[in-house]
Amino acid sequence: MSVFSDVAALLVGLKTTLGETFKPHVTVQWPEEKSVRSERYRGRHYLRRYDNGLERCIGCELCAAACPVGCILVIAAENTAENRVSPGERYAKVYEINMLRCIFCGYCEEACPVQAIVLGPEYELSNVSREQFIYTKEMLLEPSPQQPPLYAGKKSQH
């Protein structure tokens, strides 16, 4: 009889849910616990330095050109002998990323010829005003090697 098989199917369903009820939970209790993120996770951006403390970015604006939403603003300036910021001819005087626009696609990272801009593992970026989502160069730039690094990983890509 099909009625009995239907009822049996219902009972199987009920048994399944009851069984699941007493299994351990899989929820990660953020913010106390954090989930494990992969090496290649694309989160908040960083501007990297060379080991000698010089900035990698040479102000070529390739990242800005690659960005599909146009959220990167680079204004380059010439390096001079007394003010050498990066090894190349020029450096980024202004480097801003609008994090509200950014879709974390990582194209900027791909486009950069010197691997200056990279996407780090940080994802807790919420904030209370739009202005605070414009990440300036000071916020993005890695501290000099004299200070301990903000994060480890992503150093040996490519």
């Binding site: 009920l14 849910t17 351990p24 939970h25 929820t27 209790q29």
Partner: protein, 344 residues
């Protein structure tokens, strides 16, 4: 007529003012207990559904998330009660009130055993459970008027579905109770709870579930349908009707509907406990605690069904109501009457 038949140690009921004072206090107390209990039904459901889906459910506000409902309630009270353009203002406001009233009024005849022979009730009508069925049949107005007054096609469709569904399942619900009345010989809930058998050496209370199991099944299905809960939540149907009659409701009015739904779950669980599980009788355990255990288990069944079963399609709903439950109910009445006559 409605009266309060509790033991009267201080002669307070013979005094008309004292009588009404006691009745009003009792009603306020009941309303307070019920609304608090309803809040914890919601909390229990969120935890239980969470566990079924292998997540912990609300656990942030207060110890173990216990104050989540207080936070939600405060949020609901302070939210804007938005009424869209073109709604029928009067009916839009009245509908949630009907929803809550139709569930709360049923508690006028629901007795609660506290301890030993001490029992609490507000009135002891001869028609007993019929009153609960009568006032809860008013719930359909809340949903239909809410859906109609919202001036929204989806809401209207939700209201239509509710009307057809509630009327269909009321039939099955009423029929499923007839065997219980036949066995007990009374409609008063106190008589049904206190039903005792004298079978040879055993003489004492017996859960009617053992005598009328088919009634229990039909009643359970009809009760889930009457409270509009999954798998019978077609009137709200978040997926295809975007919330049905609830679509345009927000803030306090939405909370009234929400309260009515969960109060309905609580009421139906209590009724099932009283009708089929012997109410507050459990060996060795005081009445209030025994009833509490039974009600919690029955509320869990409601949640369990919601956590398991997908929503019925509309024609399946009607088929189940009219072609399965109703004939089964009639056969059940017939068989039970024959047995009652033969065995008495």
């Amino acid at each position: 007529m409605i009266r309060l038949d509790t033991p009267d140690p201080f002669g307070i009921y013979s005094n008309p003012v004292g009588h009404w004072f006691v009745v009003v206090i009792a009603m306020l107390l009941l309303a307070f207990v019920l609304i608090t209990a309803t809040a914890y039904v919601v909390f229990f459901e969120r935890i239980a559904l969470g566990w079924m889906q292998r997540r912990p459910g609300p656990n942030r506000v207060g110890p173990g998330g216990f104050l989540q409902l207080a936070a939600d309630g405060v949020k609901g009270l302070f939210k804007e009660g938005f009424a869209p353009v073109g709604v029928d203002r009067v009916l839009f406001v009245v509908a949630p009130g009907i929803a809550v009233a139709s569930v709360l009024l049923g508690w006028a005849v629901i007795p609660v055993g506290i301890w030993g022979s001490i029992t609490y009730w507000i009135s002891d009508l001869n028609i007993g459970i019929l009153l609960v069925l009568a006032v809860s049949s008013m719930n359909v107005y809340a949903i239909m008027l809410g859906g109609w007054a919202s001036n929204n096609k989806y809401s209207l469709l939700g209201g239509m579905r509710a009307a057809a569904q509630l009327i269909s399942y009321e039939m099955a619900m009423g029929l499923s109770l007839v065997p219980v009345f036949l066995i007990v010989g009374s409609l008063r809930l106190q008589d049904i709870v206190g039903f005792t058998v004298h079978w040879g050496p055993y003489s004492g209370p017996i859960p009617l579930l053992l005598l009328a199991p088919v009634s229990f099944l039909i009643y359970l299905v009809a009760a889930v349908a009457e409270t509009n809960r999954a798998p019978f939540d077609l009137p709200e149907a978040e997926q295809e009707l975007i919330g049905g009659f609830l679509t345009e409701y927000s803030g306090f009015r939405f909370f009234m509907f929400y309260l009515a739904e969960y109060l309905g779950v609580l009421t139906q669980s209590t009724l099932i406990a009283l009708l089929f599980f012997g109410g507050w009788y459990l060996p060795l355990i005081p009445g209030a605690i025994a009833l509490f255990i039974k009600v919690v288990l029955l509320v869990f069944i409601f949640i369990w069904l919601r956590g398991t079963l997908p929503r019925l399609r509309y024609d399946m709903l009607m088929r189940l109501g009219w072609k399965a439950l109703l004939p089964l109910g009639i056969a059940n009445v017939l068989v039970t009457s024959i047995l009652v006559v033969l065995l008495s």
